[in-house]
Symmetry: C2
Amino acid sequence: MRSQDLEEMRRIPFFRSVEPGQVEAMLRGAFLQRFPAHVELIHTGEPADFLHVVVEGTVEMFSVHRDRETTLGVSGPGDSFILAAVLFDRPYLQSARALLASRILMVPADAVRQAFAADAGFARAIAENLALAYRGVIKELKNQKLRSGLERLANWLLTHDAENGSTGHFDFPFDKKVLAARLGMAPEVLSRSFAALGAYHVVVHGPSVVIQDVAALRKLAHPCSTIDGTSL
Amino acid sequence: MRSQDLEEMRRIPFFRSVEPGQVEAMLRGAFLQRFPAHVELIHTGEPADFLHVVVEGTVEMFSVHRDRETTLGVSGPGDSFILAAVLFDRPYLQSARALLASRILMVPADAVRQAFAADAGFARAIAENLALAYRGVIKELKNQKLRSGLERLANWLLTHDAENGSTGHFDFPFDKKVLAARLGMAPEVLSRSFAALGAYHVVVHGPSVVIQDVAALRKLAHPCSTIDGTSL
DNA sequence: CGCGAAGTTGATTGCTTTCAAAGGGTGTGG
DNA sequence: CCACACCCTTTGAAAGCAATCAACTTCGCG
């Protein structure tokens, strides 16, 4: 890894509360790799050899069982994934693929476990990371079990708008196909759902969305801090 | 708390790798409380004042949104719950109610956070706990999204049988109503599902189940270590 | 014996998936 | 520069799984 890259890696939030020496040790054996879109980075069931951290790009976590596939989450810059598997040397429960061309930092599992054992600050940072990840999955489970497809879409639109300045209009960051998978529905259903949102003054033209009446959409979505909040 | 109880608490797996002094400190302000069945122990959205550990009994984690309710998990003796909320002082994402009369150890959140900051061993134990909890929820999410109700039931039967010595027959540890909620289906659907399992030589009489042909049930269930395994 | 909760069974509705086909945009190769 | 292929997206129609409503049975318990 180039020293310029090393500098960049040190600034990853994940390493913030780690002793510099431990960061060095972890980065020494690490790779910073580029992956083109659609490439599978890790595969369900395989042993956890590397902790992965998204430096740039977008990664979809998914899983396949029999002839079904489902998206479990999407990771962006600064997010690590499969930390739990790496820490305790268990097989991956999820697969990951790049949605966009991405740069991924790959830290050998041994080094992570060693730093976890040696550096209490790192151990606490990992605990925090895991706690937030845990709460994220609980929210996803609630979102899935307590809401209809249309409600999930409405809330996703509100959340995404809020994350982008609440302007009421934005472009999709990925294909609608991917959004459908992320929301846990077939692409056809997403299409129909968009049509249904016309009644709530949501206008979709190709990749662009305009929310003309936030209040109306809110009323349909019933956003809730214990499901949607990114902050809690 | 009585000294006899203190002895019992020290043996909780959760405290195993914690310095005795820290355990003392945590237990000093803790309560050991009995709750009758059906009582709600914690409520979604409230601030996390206590870490709860099940000493005896069974607790259901659930959540309500609008007019829908769903079960998110069931905790038994030795399990802690809402650790993530307590650690970082966030509101509970789940509610909890006792399914059976239960004894619950309630440790003040402050004491937990203090021990987390002071004792690296405890911090690591918590990280491990959170990692396993995280993996558990991921499995639950996969179970929910990748399987039909009948498949979830079939797998639950196989898992529960395996946990009880693989004798091929057992009694339900809780009402079928609760099992239905746990599997994410209406009670009526569970009833029909049991009827459907007759074709696979599963016989249900009141609270008792007999699996007469494990192979047949397995073929329907397609158990999978990255969804069902309690060990992974 | 009768109340009440739990469980079963039937009928109906609704959300979602699946299959099928057509429209629309993009990129490549002729 | 056009033609064609390909994929995404949309729309239509049909089928399936699960929820809901309703009625009836069963069982435990006072």
